[in-house]
């Protein structure tokens, strides 16, 4: 009944939008003068009316004001750019395309945060904006900076295991983060078992992290949205950048296809550890064995301006990890059945995404964005054994396993700006999912037998539609709200699930530089991730909600205070409470290894609650910039079938989480950066006792689930960058040290039986396994 009431009342809120008056509309695009790339989120203010708006995700803005015979002044600005002012008579509608030039003052270049006072004045809360500069200024690991490592340094976001880039937002799981690359979901964002993300920082433009107060346009995950946008490509001149580190080399090139009309950006990265590992392993094993591992990423984007009202984009991402190895045995004895035995194993996984986007300006205040996208994640594992028998017959035994997920999606979004008090967004999308929880193939070929069998574990298709409407309403100078509804439906195996999700964010401006915000968001998730411990294994399986394992739901309420001191230091405090239903966990004794056999039977569903408070201070200007963030939080889970039905701490329930990031420009050519993190150890389950069962075998007794804490995690990383302008390019040497004071953080705990020579007895000893000690690295970067 409540849902129906909301559905009826919601459209009425928009009625005020259509009041008639003598008005004119100023509209256009905000563009970077040097690169021709559109600037999103820049502010446009009309002076005499003290009213303004911001450009949308594609640089489009529209502002409708009362018609007047006087001249008006329109100013447009964005942090890091020189603001522009325009004066003209406001007698008729006007198209005003603004070109902004980047500031050349040192401190403005260093500034890496985004929009002047935007965080304070925006109705959006729980959102943090990062750009490429911020990410690249952080200390590198093995010469690689990473967007997900930067995200882990934000308050309210917990890191997973040591070195792993999985992230956990406000008590949610790693599967509850919607990771979008140019609006396309990326299902497995990890390389090298989670130590690197698939996002090449050379190709990125901006990153928005939303932890709560989700606008209605987002849906599909419970806990966060990580909206990553790739560079469009410079349509004025050619530029490139790249780097060589200990692990990988990368290169990015951008430039105009037709100056001012179209551009491209292409970026690639590849590791080369296999180039020296393979011969090394081969020589160690006397040519009897060899193995190698590599990953690569390829990002590409081209875009065309088709007149003043249309803009067409094509973009794609292709990435793969591959591990392969082989062992070769020669048998010299004629009495053996086999003369030669060659064993090969290959494991590869990767994502592919593709997107076609068309921006069209229907009218001065109606902007449309249409998208078709495709995303695929595939994991393949195979092994082959070739046995050359003494009879001369070559017997081949081949096994292969594959799993994955594939989506195709159509989406239409409309931005309607009828007047400065409303910014309406509506849209709809339909997505076709194809899940492949697992498929096996076995081939046996020899002189007497030839068998080829395949086993497909439940190839599942589903369809999902989403539709939303939201309005960013300015009620007065002090009060602004974003009100929206997200309606979604999901078909799978003759089940149809629907969900109507209200979203509200409210801002009250205490002063021009200080605001209070509250938000409420209900979210729904029709997809589950079968994973163990969130290690970021390529074997993680995405599976749909079904009648047995229903969709996950959450409700999150948050309240926050935001203050921008002298337009330099931002302070924020946010408190949240989140309740989650139908979250999943593996049954006791189960794992992804068993999940192939009827995965719905391997998991249990339950509830989760999390609450906490986050403090953050972020300095944005000057020679020294950085942030301090602290989170005090609790996150629990409860399942009828686990822990005797009693609530228990979530694995990544970290009570205290402190983060410090400092970037200091020592001279024009030398920059220092450091980050230090401290957090409560993750929760784990350990045995506390043993006894003998009825057959006199030793049985271990585990205490309450996740009742033991690993030692606290803390780590300091440092980096120093030496820059120099050469004749035709700029180069940087970056020296980084990961884990400076060699803290042996626990990756996991294991037990071993140890002999005590004094008492001549054995005992169980627990050990923490640490993965990364101090790791220095150096990389060379260039830009032209």
């Amino acid at each position: 009944m409540k849902k129906i009431g909301i559905a009826i009342l919601f459209p009425l809120m928009f009625l005020g939008v259509f009041a008639f008056a003598q008005k004119i509309t100023i509209h256009g695009y905000i563009t970077d003068k040097a690169t021709g790339e559109r600037i999103l989120g820049s502010s446009i203010v009309v002076a005499p009316f003290n009213t303004g708006t911001t450009s949308n995700n594609y640089g489009f803005y529209s502002i409708t004001i009362p018609q007047t015979s006087d001249s008006i002044e329109v100013s447009c600005g964005f942090v890091g750019y020189q603001s522009q002012q325009y004066k003209f008579l406001a007698k008729e509608n006007k198209r005003l395309d603004v070109l902004l030039s980047a500031n050349t003052i040192l401190e403005e270049v260093i500034v890496t945060s985004s929009r002047k006072n935007n965080k304070v004045t925006s109705s959006q809360m729980s959102m943090i904006h990062l750009n490429q500069g911020q990410i690249k200024n952080l200390p590198a690991v093995l010469g690689e900076t990473d967007v997900l490592r930067a995200v882990q340094l934000l308050p309210g976001i917990q890191a997973g295991n040591e070195g792993n880039l999985g992230f956990y937002v406000r008590g949610g799981g790693a599967d509850q983060n919607l990771i979008l690359l140019d609006g396309v979901p990326v299902y497995n964002a990890m390389h090298l078992f989670g130590f690197f993300s698939v996002f090449n920082s050379d190709a990125l433009q901006t990153v928005d992290v939303i932890k709560g107060g989700f606008p209605a346009r987002y849906g599909g995950r419970l806990s966060s949205v990580l909206d990553i946008r790739m560079k469009e490509g410079n349509n004025q001149e050619f530029h490139g950048e790249g780097g060589i580190g200990l692990l990988a080399a990368r290169f990015m090139l951008e430039g105009p296809i037709k100056k001012g009309k179209s551009s491209f950006m292409v970026s690639g990265r590849r590791t080369y550890a296999d180039l020296y590992m393979r011969p090394l392993i081969k020589s160690i094993n006397n040519k009897g064995a060899e193995a190698g591992y590599y990953f690569y990423d390829l990002n590409a984007k081209i875009n065309f301006y088709l007149g003043r009202k249309d803009h067409l984009y094509f973009s794609g991402y292709f990435g793969k990890d591959k591990f392969d190895g082989n062992v070769n045995y020669d048998f010299n004895s004629d009495s053996l059945m086999a003369k030669n035995n060659l064993y090969k194993a290959t494991m590869e996984w990767g994502n592919s995404t593709a997107l076609v986007r068309w921006n069209h300006e229907f009218s001065r205040n109606l902007f449309c964005n249409m998208t078709f996208n495709y995303t695929k994640y595939q994991f393949n594992l195979s092994n082959e054994q070739n046995v050359l028998q003494t009879t001369g017959v070559n017997a081949v035994y081949y096994q292969a396993y594959s799993s994955g997920i594939e989506d195709k999606s159509l989406r239409i979004d409309l931005d309607y700006l009828p007047n400065p008090n409303h910014f309406i967004k509506i849209g709809t999308s339909v997505t076709w999912h194809n899940y492949r929880p697992g498929a096996f193939q076995t081939q046996i070929t020899n002189s007497s037998y030839n068998n080829d069998s395949s086993y497909q574990a439940g190839f599942i298709s589903s369809s999902e539609f989403d539709t939303y409407a939201e309005d960013d309403i300015r009620f007065s100078n002090r009060i602004k709200a974003n009100v929206g509804l997200h309606l979604t439906g999901f078909w799978v195996r003759n089940n149809f699930f629907t969900s109507l999700q209200p979203r509200v964010s409210l801002r009250y401006l205490l002063r021009t530089d200080m605001s209070l915000k509250v938000s409420f968001a209900q979210m729904n998730q029709f997809i589950h991730l079968l994973t163990n411990n969130g290690v970021g294994m390529p074997t993680d399986l995405w599976v749909p909600a079904t009648g047995i394992v229903p969709p996950e739901k959450s409700m999150q309420a948050a309240i926050g205070w935001q203050y921008n001191w002298k337009n330099n230091i931002e302070f924020s405090i946010e408190s949240y409470y989140k309740k989650m239903d139908n979250v999943i966990e593996y049954k006791e004794g189960s794992s992804f290894v068993n999940a192939l056999n009827n995965w719905e039977n391997q998991v249990v569903t339950g509830t989760g609650t999390s609450y906490g408070i986050e403090w953050m201070a972020q300095k944005q200007k000057g020679r020294t910039t950085g942030l301090i963030g602290y989170t005090l939080s609790w996150s629990n889970r409860q399942f009828a079938e686990l822990n005797n039905g009693q609530p228990f701490p979530y694995k990544y329930d970290r009570r205290h989480d402190l983060k410090l990031v400092v970037v200091h420009t020592l001279t024009k050519n030398i920059q220092l950066s450091a980050d230090w993190v401290f957090s409560t150890g993750i929760a784990t389950t350990l045995p506390v006792a043993t006894y003998l069962n009825s057959s006199l075998s030793q049985v271990q007794v585990y205490d309450q689930r996740n009742s033991f804490r690993l030692p606290p995690y803390h780590r300091l990383d440092l980096s120093i960058k030496f820059s120099k302008q050469k004749k035709n390019f700029e180069r940087d040497w970056v020296i980084s040290i990961y884990n400076v004071y060699n803290r042996l953080n626990a990756y996991f705990i294991y037990q071993n039986t140890v002999y005590n020579a004094v008492t001549h007895t054995y005992y169980n000893q627990f050990y923490k396994f640490s993965l990364f000690p101090i790791i220095p690295s150096i990389s060379y970067q260039f830009k032209f």
Binding site: L142, L246, F440, S453, Y455, N532, N533, Y586, K587, E588, G589, S590, S591, F592, V593, N594, A595, L596, N597, N598, T685, L686, P687, V688, A689, T690, Y691, L692, S694, L696, Q698, V699, Q700, V701, Y702, D703, R705, I735, L744, A746, Y747, I749, Q751, N756, T759, T761, Y762, Y763, Q765, F766, Y767, K768, F769, S770, F772, P773, I775, P776, S777, I778
Partner: protein, 305 residues
């Protein structure tokens, strides 16, 4: 200089970037008494009473292992329908506590075990010995189908009448002529409990012959017909000690506790061989202690072709 610095850093990072293990302290738990016993009808009272040990307590290996868990001469009393009927004595030869009066279990009785020992918290456990079920219409049809691997399969069918008055739990065991359990039994019956498998690469979703669990939530008060499919080679008569032994089925009428115990015991076994598995505890119904005690009735019928 730059080249030298780069080379040094590469060598240093490669040499340092390896895993390390360091000891950490984990608190153990104080010892508790442990009872293990599974009584069928007309069994002599007999159970094993031992003690638990903290996870980091020192211990010996081999034959001496049992001695670190052994509890001698504890007081173990048995109540039948809440009346003390026996006190068990420790048998040092077999390491068990048993009735010296040759007392035996009775159908439909409720048994309570109390045990105490100096320095330990007393433990107690209660279990009913449920009514004996009647198996009817048992048939073994030979070679009725093939499984996915091309094996010839026999079909076992039989029925029993469920009692309407309570929630009932059953365990069916399928045994070969030599008394060992049959393996990989298939059934399309959705009432059977789906257990976690320990072999992820099997294309069969078959059940072991000692783990055919079901509850009567879908057939309460009705006659339940069971149809099972077993490979023909397991259902052969066997000549043992000069006598022909037929394969047979057992229908155990069990408690909910026993049902939980079998499920969790299976989880524990599976977790033990899978390093990625979530930790599993075996269900215990012992108050203030560990282990598992139950009584059950068992009906048997042989399988003839």
């Amino acid at each position: 200089m730059k080249k030298w610095l780069a080379q040094c850093l590469i060598i240093l990072s490669l040499s340092l970037a390896c895993n390390k293990a360091t000891e950490i302290d984990v608190p153990g738990q104080k010892p508790l008494l442990v009872i293990n016993g599974q009584w069928r009808q007309n069994n002599m009272f007999m159970l094993r009473l031992t003690r638990s040990r903290g996870i980091t307590d020192p211990f010996d290996t081999g034959a001496a292992l049992f001695s670190t868990y052994e509890v001698k001469n504890a007081l173990v009393t048995i109540r039948e329908n809440n009346i003390v009927v026996d006190t068990l004595k420790y048998d040092t030869m077999n390491f068990i506590y048993s009735s010296i009066h040759n007392k035996r279990t009775k159908l439909n009785a409720v048994y309570t075990v109390n045990s105490s020992f100096t320095g330990f918290t007393s433990v107690t456990v209660t279990s009913p010995l449920l009514s004996l079920m009647t198996i009817s219409g048992t048939q073994l049809k030979s070679g009725v189908s093939y499984n996915a691997l091309g094996d010839l399969m026999d079909e076992i069918s039989f029925s029993f009448a469920d009692d309407e008055s309570q929630m009932d739990y059953y365990l069916i065991r399928v045994k070969k002529g030599d008394g060992s359990y049959a393996e990989c039994i298939n059934t399309a019956d959705q009432d059977f409990e789906k257990l976690i498998f320990n072999n992820p690469f099997t294309t069969e979703t078959c059940l072991d012959g000692d783990k055919l669990l079901l509850s009567d939530k879908n057939f309460n008060g009705k006659t339940k017909k069971i149809i099972l499919s077993v490979s023909t080679d397991q259902m052969q008569d066997m000549l043992i000690s000069g006598r022909i032994r037929h394969p047979y089925i057992e229908l155990l009428h069990i408690t909910q506790d026993f049902f939980k115990y079998i499920k969790t015991n299976n989880n524990y076994d599976v977790a033990g061989i899978n390093p990625f598995a979530e930790p599993a505890n075996i269900y215990s119904n012992i108050t203030n202690g560990y282990g598992f005690f139950t009584a059950y009735s068992v009906a048997t019928d042989s399988l003839h072709k």
